[in-house]
C-alpha cells in the first residue's frame, strides 16, 4: 500500500488525452447510479445527525419546552418567537453576547498574530530550531482541550501555581495568593491564553506552507527592484498569501466563537455568578442545568445565525479589498 502510494501517477497514465471526456449517455446514467451509491452512507449520517437536528433546533426554539415537556408530562405549548423576545429582553443575554464576541475577537486576533509571526520566523531559520518550534507547536495543538485547560489552571493556581510563585519571586509581592479566575477580565484573559496556545499552531503550519510555496525568485526580484522589506511583504507576499489567510481566519473565527470546554473547565461552568459565560456555555446551562430546552435552543439558533453572518461579512470584506488592491 505504501509502495503504491509513492508511484508517480504521470508515469503510469497512458498518454491518452481527451479519451474519456465524451462518454455515451448510458455510461452517464451508470455514473449517476454509482455516485448515488457512494454518497448514500455519508448522506444518511449527515441528514439524520446534522440536518435533522438543525431543523429540530429551530423547531424547539419556538416552543415552551421544559422539564415537564421533556418527560412527556405536559403538552407542548407553541410560543412562536416568545423565547426570542424573552432572550432579547434579558440584559444577561446581551452581556453573554458581548462576552462571546469580545472573547472570540481576542482569541482570533491572538492566534493569527502569534501564528503568522512564528510562521515568518520559522521560514527564516535553519532546520533544527524550526523543527523544535514545530514539535512544540504540534504538542500544543495535539493537547486535548480538557488537558490543556487543567494544566493552565494548575500553572496559574492561586496557592500552588508556578506563575504566582515566579511573579512573587521577582518582587511582585501582590501576586502572592492572587486568584486568576476571580476577576471577570483576568479570567477571560487566562482562558484566551490557553485557547491561543492551542490554536496558533494551525495558523502557523498553514501560513508556513503558504510562505514556502512562494518562489524565492519573486522575493529576490522585488528586492532587486529596490522594494523595501515592508513593501515586499505588503505588495508581493500578502496578495499571494491572502487565500490562505482567509481560510485561517475563518477557521479561527468558527473555532473561537463556539469555545465550550475551556470556558467550562477553567471557569467552572461560567465563572463567579456567570460572569464568564459565552453563548455556548449559556445555552448548555439554560438547557441542561435549568431545564429550559426551548430557550437553550433559541440561544443555539442565535449563535448559528451570528456565526454564518460573521463568515459571510468577512468573505465580502475580503473579496472587496482583494478587488481594490
Amino acid at each position: 500500500m505504501t509502495a503504491q502510494s509513492t508511484l508517480t501517477p504521470q508515469r503510469d497514465g497512458a498518454p491518452e488525452p481527451s479519451g474519456g471526456s465524451v462518454r455515451p449517455r448510458r455510461a452517464h446514467r451508470g455514473q449517476a447510479r454509482t455516485a448515488a451509491l457512494y454518497l448514500t452512507p455519508a448522506g444518511i449520517v449527515l441528514v439524520s445527525v446534522m440536518a435533522y437536528p438543525l431543523y429540530q433546533l429551530v423547531q424547539l426554539s419556538l416552543y415552551e419546552y421544559g422539564q415537564a415537556q421533556a418527560s412527556g408530562g405536559a403538552p407542548l405549548e407553541f410560543l412562536g418567537l416568545g423565547n426570542y423576545t424573552q432572550l432579547l429582553g434579558d440584559p444577561r443575554f446581551w452581556m453573554v453576547l458581548l462576552n462571546t464576541c469580545g472573547f472570540a475577537a481576542v482569541c482570533v486576533a491572538g492566534s493569527l498574530a502569534v501564528g503568522i509571526t512564528l510562521a515568518v520566523l520559522a521560514s527564516r531559520v535553519r532546520q533544527l530550531p524550526r523543527a523544535l518550534l514545530f514539535l512544540a507547536a504540534l504538542g500544543a495543538w495535539a493537547t486535548p482541550a480538557v488537558a490543556g485547560s487543567t494544566v493552565w489552571l494548575f500553572l496559574f493556581d492561586q496557592d500552588f501555581g508556578l506563575v504566582n510563585e515566579v511573579l512573587t519571586g521577582i518582587g511582585l509581592t501582590g501576586m502572592e495568593g492572587f486568584s486568576w479566575t476571580y476577576d471577570r477580565f483576568v479570567a477571560f484573559a487566562l482562558v484566551a491564553g490557553e485557547v491561543i496556545w492551542c490554536s496558533f499552531p494551525f495558523v502557523m503550519v498553514t501560513m508556513y506552507a503558504g510562505i514556502k510555496a512562494i518562489p524565492e525568485e519573486m522575493v529576490e526580484a522585488a528586492s532587486l527592484d529596490g522594494a523595501s522589506t515592508w513593501r515586499t511583504a505588503r505588495s508581493v507576499l500578502l496578495p499571494m498569501l491572502r487565500p490562505l489567510l482567509v481560510i485561517a481566519t475563518i477557521q479561527s473565527i468558527i473555532w473561537d466563537f463556539k469555545i465550550f470546554t475551556q470556558i467550562y473547565v477553567m471557569t467552572d461552568g461560567g465563572g463567579v455568578a456567570g460572569q464568564n459565560l459565552v453563548l455556548n456555555v449559556y445555552a448548555y446551562q439554560e438547557a441542561f442545568a435549568g431545564s429550559n430546552y426551548g430557550l437553550g435552543s433559541a440561544i443555539g439558533v442565535v449563535m448559528t445565525a451570528l456565526l454564518l453572518l460573521i463568515t459571510v461579512i468577512y468573505l465580502r470584506v475580503q473579496r472587496g479589498t482583494g478587488e481594490n488592491a
Binding site: M1, Q4, L7, P9, Q10, G13, A14, E16, P17, G19, G20, H28, Q31, A32, A35, A36, Y38, L39, P41, A42, V49, M50, Y52, P53, L57, L121, P129, L132, L133, A136, L138, G139, A140, A142, T143, P144, V146, A147, G148, T150, V151, F154, L155, D157, F160, G161, E165, W197, T206, A209, F260, Y264, N280, Y284, Y293, G300, M303, T304, L307, T311
Partner: protein, 298 residues
C-alpha cells in the same frame, strides 16, 4: 517608484547577506526560546504527574523533581477506573476514524470522479455543513439520542454508540472536503489506463485511488481521531448516569474537588489523555502538514 536608487545591486546584496548572519542567529535563539515557552505547559504537566504529593501541594514549586513516583498514576487507575475510560475513549475515536475513512472516501470519489446532476449543490452543502456550530445542536441531539435509545439501546443516551454517531457526522463534512482535493489530484488518464487494463471501477477505486490518496487519508484520520478523543461537551451531555461508559475528559474532572483539587491525579490523567494524541500527531506530522496545506489550497 522603482527607480535605480541602488547603483550597485551586487554589493548591496553582499552587504545584506553579511548583515543577515547575526540577524539569523538572533532569530534562531528567539525560535528556540519560543519553542521552550510553547512546550512548557506540557513539560509541567508531565513533571507534576511524576512528582510526589508533598512537592505538588507546595507553595514553592520547583521545575524539577529528584524523587519521581508513580503514585499519581496508581491513584488515577485505582480510585477512578481510568483503564476503562481510556478504552472507552479509544473505542469511540477508533470506530469514528475507521468508519469516516471509508464513508468520506466514497463520498469524495463520487463528488470528484463522477459527473451527475446536483453535484455542485451537494458541494456547496458540504461546505456550509462545515460552518454549522455543532455545539449548538447539543439539545436536539440529546433528544434524538434519547429516542434512538428506545429502538437501539447501543446508540442511545448513556452508551458509547451515541458519541460515535455524533462525531462521525461532525467529522464527515471536513473529511470529504479535504479528500476531494486529493482525489482530484489523481489524473484522469490513470483511470483510463486502469480501465483499459481491464480493471473494474470498483477495483480502480480501492486498489489504485485509495493508496494514492493515502496522505489525505492520514491527515483526515488524525483530525477525526482528535476531534472524537478530545470531546467534552457531548460526553458530558450524553453519558448522564452510566459512569462505566464515561470517556477520559470527564474522568479527569473527578479529581477537582471543593475540598482541594488533587493536582497530581489531574496531571497524571491529563498526561494519559494527551500522550496517545501526541504520539499519533508527531508520527504523522509530515503527512498532516502536507495534507492540511493540500486541502487548504483547494
Amino acid at each position: 517608484m522603482t527607480t535605480a536608487t541602488r547603483t550597485a545591486p551586487t554589493t548591496g546584496r553582499r552587504r545584506k547577506q553579511l548583515f543577515r548572519r547575526p540577524g539569523r542567529t538572533l532569530a534562531e535563539i528567539t525560535t528556540v526560546l519560543v519553542a521552550a515557552v510553547v512546550a512548557f505547559p506540557l513539560y509541567w504537566m508531565l513533571l507534576t504527574a511524576f512528582k510526589p504529593r508533598g512537592q505538588i501541594q507546595s507553595t514553592d514549586p520547583r521545575p524539577w523533581t529528584l524523587s519521581p513516583t508513580l503514585e499519581n498514576f496508581r491513584r488515577v487507575f485505582t480510585v477512578n477506573d481510568f483503564g476503562r475510560y481510556f478504552l472507552n475513549s479509544l473505542l469511540v475515536a477508533g470506530v469514528v476514524v475507521v468508519v469516516s475513512l471509508v464513508v468520506s472516501f466514497l463520498a469524495a470519489v463520487a463528488l470528484t470522479r463522477f459527473r451527475f446532476r446536483g453535484r455542485t449543490v451537494l458541494l456547496v452543502m458540504i461546505l456550509t455543513a462545515q460552518m454549522v456550530p455543532v455545539e449548538a445542536l447539543t439539545i436536539p441531539l440529546f433528544f434524538l439520542m434519547r429516542s434512538v435509545g428506545e429502538v437501539a439501546p447501543w446508540f442511545g443516551l448513556n452508551h458509547l454508540g451515541s458519541l460515535v454517531l455524533v462525531h462521525l457526522a461532525f467529522s464527515l463534512p471536513f473529511a470529504i472536503w479535504m479528500l476531494r482535493g486529493f482525489v482530484a489530484a489523481v489524473p484522469a488518464e490513470l483511470e483510463e489506463a486502469a480501465t483499459l487494463d481491464g480493471a473494474s471501477r470498483f477495483r480502480f477505486t480501492w486498489q489504485v485511488l485509495f493508496p494514492l490518496v493515502a496522505p489525505g487519508l492520514v491527515a483526515m484520520s488524525v483530525l477525526s481521531f482528535i476531534h472524537a478523543w478530545n470531546d467534552f461537551l457531548f460526553a458530558k451531555t450524553f453519558i448522564i448516569s452510566a459512569t462505566e461508559n464515561q470517556t477520559l475528559p470527564l474522568a479527569v474532572l473527578v479529581f477537582f474537588k471543593p475540598t482541594g483539587n488533587d493536582w497530581g491525579a489531574i496531571m497524571a490523567g491529563s498526561t494519559l489523555m494527551t500522550i496517545p494524541v501526541l504520539v499519533f500527531f508527531v508520527l504523522v506530522q509530515r503527512h498532516l502538514v502536507s495534507g492540511i496545506a493540500g486541502a487548504v489550497k483547494e
